[in-house]
Each structure stands twice: as C-alpha cells, then as structure tokens.
C-alpha cells in the first residue's frame, strides 16, 4: 500500500488523489497510512498535509490529556493514548464491516467478541487510572469516558447472544462493572480477601444494566478504599515500635477504637449545623491529646499480646466497609 511515487515536485494533485482512493478503501489502517506517507518537500504542502490529516487536533488532544494526567512516564502515556485511539478507530471500522452480518454463534465470533470486550475493559481502566479521585473534575470526566466505553454496543446490537454486551442505551453490564471494580481494587494494592466484602456490597448481577450513578459510586468507592487501605498499612507501620516486631494489641485496638468512635460520631445528619458539630466532635476524638490518653490507658489495662499487619488491615477495612451501603 505504501506507494513511494511522491518524488515529483509538482505532483501534489496526483498524490492527493492517491490518498483519497486509499482512504475510502481501507478501514482501520487509513489513519496510519495517511500520516506515514511522505509528502512533497515544499513548505506550503507540508502545512496542507498536516492540516488535512488532522494532526493538529490529535496532538492538541494528546497534550491536554497529558496535562490532566501528569504521568510519570510521558512516553508510555502517549504510546497508550495513541494506541487506544487507534484501537477505537479499528473497532468502529470493524463494526461497520460487521453490519450486514447477523450473528451466527460461531466460536470464532465469540472469541473475537470476548477479546474486544477485554480490550474495552483495558482501555476503560487506563482512563480511570489517569487522575486521582481527589481531582474531582478530572476524575469525573474520566469516569464518564470509561462508562461510555464500556457501554458501547454496535449499531444493531448482537442479536441472539447468550450474554449481551450491554442493554442498548441502558448502561454497563453487571459483569463488566464487577470486573472493573475488581481490577481497580487489585491495582490499588488491596488483596482480594480484603476487598471481597466491599465488592459484595457493591455487587450488581451480571444480567443487570448498571446506570451511570451506580457505576460512578462504585468506581469512586474502590479508588478511595485502596487509598484507605494504603493509609492503614502505613498506620500499622507507625504504631509498630521498629525494633519490637509486631505492634502491641492494646495500642492497635486503641487506635482503631478512636477511629471507630470518630466514624460513629460523624454519621449522617440532616441539618448542616448538626453535621458540622458532629465533625468537630469526631476530630476531637482523634486529636493527639485524646490519642495519647487512650493509648496510655490501653497500655496500662489493655489486652496483652500482639496484632499482626493482616489483622490490623482487616479490622480497618471492616470499619470502612460497614459504612458502605449495599447497592439496591
């Protein structure tokens, strides 16, 4: 397909005609072909070529995404970004091609669909990883993009499937949603056993269509939970005296007790003034003075023995998960 005929100085028109032909013929590779082909060496046609290929828009989009995400590995990030764009073009091209064909239930087709679903999931996860949940607007945008990606269906759906890719216009399938949440927890460094109770609470059946609100809540909860578990691990490291091995049970229980009391104090309130008051009371229960008092009491009267890191992490996770409402 690569036609090195473009050596003529004034051959601009023939090159353009060639490019037009190639563009209508190809499906997914057209974009790559247009950009890869060398144009004639004059200045004006360079600019025309770039504007025609839409390279300005591509680069602008890539740079905006990069500024939003601020990745540690810029080259890898750009590679992923352009890779996902190319995959999107390929998919839309191939789905167009599939249009006239009804589903025949062959295993090859199933395999291809499974691979495509996995690809979509990977791209959605890549989008979700771009911004931290504390960056509210960026994170919200990324969740929206991921949701749209995962709830994509072909223009005519896939009639006669045993497990449809998604209700038309309805939302993300429960299976994809559960898989997304599981991957998010795993990537956040949360062991599967710790995140299992959380996923139970956020669970949606495979056949259900998950609306955007539930999807967003689930994703945010998993992101926050992985941060929470990381903090709990560091907290255990702090409570541990460095040379004494595992931390004393009394100290761990005291610290977790303070957190539990704070969480119970700041339960939902109706009026904002009561809410503010409860928040102040909660933070008073976690103040250094209160903590010191509680810990000295625990040291004097608390249970003997040690608590290892896993138990501490599970206890902290339980405090968090107890406050997550079951999805209904």
């Amino acid at each position: 397909m690569f036609n090195p005929v473009a050596e003529t100085r004034d051959g601009t028109s023939t090159n353009m005609a060639d490019r037009e032909k190639r563009r209508s013929a190809g499906s997914g590779s057209c974009l790559a072909a247009t950009v890869a082909e060398p144009g004639p060496a004059t200045k004006g046609s360079d600019r025309e070529f770039l504007s025609q290929a839409g390279v300005g828009e591509l680069l602008r989009g890539a740079l905006l995404k990069m500024v939003e995400a601020r990745p540690d590995d810029p080259v890898g990030f750009l590679a992923d970004h352009f890779g996902s764009l190319a995959a999107a073009v390929v998919e839309s091209g191939s789905e167009d091609l599939k249009e006239p064909r009804l589903s025949d239930g062959s295993s090859g087709d199933e395999g291809a669909r499974g691979a495509r679903a996995q690809q979509r999931l990977n791209r959605a996860l890549w989008h979700l990883r771009l911004a931290h949940h504390s960056q509210r607007s960026a994170f919200g945008n990324n969740v929206r993009v991921a949701y749209d990606l995962l709830s994509l269906t072909g223009p005519f759906g896939h009639a006669g499937d045993s497990s449809p890719a998604g209700a038309p216009g309805g939302g993300v399938s429960g299976a994809l949603y559960t898989q997304t949440l599981r991957c998010l927890c795993g990537e956040g460094g949360v062991p599967a056993s710790t995140s299992a109770p959380l996923l139970c609470r956020l669970h949606c059946h495979d056949h259900e269509a998950v609306p955007y609100g539930v999807f967003r809540h689930g994703v945010l909860t998993c992101a926050v939970f992985s941060d929470y578990i990381r903090q709990a691990q560091r907290l255990y490291a702090q409570v541990c005296q460095p040379d004494e091995g595992p931390a004393s049970r009394a100290a761990c229980l005291a610290v977790l007790g303070a957190l539990r009391e704070a969480l119970e104090t700041s339960r939902d309130a109706d009026s904002p003034s009561v809410k503010a008051l409860r928040r102040l009371e909660a933070s008073a229960k976690m103040s250094p003075h209160q903590l010191a008092r509680v810990m000295t009491e625990a040291q004097a009267r608390g249970p003997a023995g040690h608590m290892d890191a896993k138990e501490f992490e599970n206890a902290a996770a339980e405090l968090f998960i107890a406050r997550v409402k079951v999805v209904s």
Partner: protein
C-alpha cells in the same frame, strides 16, 4: 559634610534640662524595655546670641536613657523624613563598675531614605539588630540617636515610636517545672510513639471514608424489585 556636622556637634551641642521630659515606659518584653526618651534636640549654627535664630544644620539628636546594664537585642522605630541615622552607645563594662561609662559608635550613618530629597523610605519602619552594630551592645546605660537630613525640602524630621528590645534571658525554672522534671524521672515515658502523626493519619482515613459516604448519598439505584433476594431461583422453586 560629616566633619562639619561633627564640629558643630562638639561646639554647639546644648542640653536643655529645663524642658519637660516625655516618658515612654513599657512593661513587658514585647513592648520593649522601659526607657526614657528625651525630646529631640536640633542643632543650629550661626546663632551665637539669642537674638538671631541659627540656621538649622539638619542634624538632630535624641537621647534615650535606659536602666543601667541592659543588653540590647533590637532597636525599632518609625522614620519621619530622616535621611541617615547614627547610633552611639554609652557602655559600662560589667567588671568595671567604678569606671566612667564610655561612649562608642555602634552604627554610623545608616541610610534610611535612598534619596534625601524624595519620599522613598520617608515613613518606613526600621529595625537595627545587634548583629548590625559594630560594638556589642552589652551593659548599655544610654543610647544616642543622631539623625541627619541634609535636604532642605522637608520642614522637620525625626523618628517616632522608638522601642528598645532587650535580649531575652533564659527564664529561671519555676517550682512547677522542677516538679514536672522530677515526675518525668519517676515515671519515664513508656511510649515514644509519635502521636501527632498517628492522629494525622487517622484523620486522613476518616476523611477518605467521609468522601465515600458523601458520594453514596448521591448515587442512583440499580432499580431492583426483589426484596432480600426473593427472586433467587432456589427460593422461588420452594414456594
């Protein structure tokens, strides 16, 4: 100009003891040490007899009397159109109580206004630290501020709100402090835990759970109709 001023200073410096002395006293260290600020004396020349008024020479002297034996940390003041300031200290070294106190120059001609004819720095606040002084301001009994304004653009010049801050002495421990030291010896602290950082981390964890709770108040529902899993196939088959 400097030697002229010095000559005038030596020849025509008058100390008018009949005038009222304005007292400025301060109680605690934050306001400055209690000192007596004498009224500023403007030097004139060319007025030998009392009939003709001498020309203003552009030099003004302010004396500050301190309780004896002070160690000075900082002198602060607000400028009022003074171009240059010099500071002289009358010190008595602690060993020689009987000997006369000696005058020495701590600071010579420090510029306060970049251009004596223009407004810049005319009403700014300044402070002179002991590190900027050429001699150690220990055992000071009197301070002399010599203000100079060579420009004829300004009718008058002085400094306002002069405060002297002594060096902080280490406070002698009171009885309560001694008692707490003894208590620490008897009951040594058992927990070298950094409670502040533990508290900080707990607050972060609490904040994260609040983020989650606030998000779930806005969450939509999936729209299930079953109550407690009553659509479960195992239950349905029994009824």
């Amino acid at each position: 100009m400097c030697t002229c001023h010095t000559f005038i200073f030596l020849c025509y410096y008058e100390y008018n003891c009949d005038r009222e002395q304005s007292k400025m006293s301060a109680d605690d260290v934050t306001k400055g040490v209690a000192c007596t600020l004498k009224p500023p004396v403007f030097l004139h020349f060319g007025g030998g007899d009392s009939k003709t008024q001498g020309c203003c020479s552009g030099v003004c002297v302010i004396d500050v009397a301190l309780p004896p034996g002070k160690t000075i940390e900082t002198i602060t003041f607000k400028n009022f159109y003074t171009a240059l300031v010099s500071v002289r200290l009358q010190r008595r070294s602690p060993g020689q109580e009987g000997a006369a106190a000696k005058w020495c120059t701590a600071l010579r001609d420090r510029p306060l206004m970049t251009n004596p004819h223009t407004e810049a720095g005319a009403q700014d606040y300044y402070s002179i630290d002991r590190k900027q002084m050429q001699v150690e301001p220990d055992g000071v009994s009197s301070i002399r501020l010599i203000l100079k304004q060579p420009s004829s653009a300004w009718l008058t010049f002085s400094v306002q709100d002069v405060r002297i801050f002594p060096r902080m002495q280490p406070v002698r421990k009171g009885r309560i402090d001694e008692l707490s030291d003894w208590l620490l010896l008897v009951f040594p602290p058992q927990d070298p835990l950094d409670v502040a950082s533990v508290s900080c981390r707990l607050q972060q964890m609490w904040a994260l759970s609040q983020v989650m709770q606030s998000s779930q108040s806005h969450a939509a529902s999936v729209g299930r109709f079953d109550v407690d899993g009553c659509y479960d196939i195992n239950l349905l088959s029994l009824t």
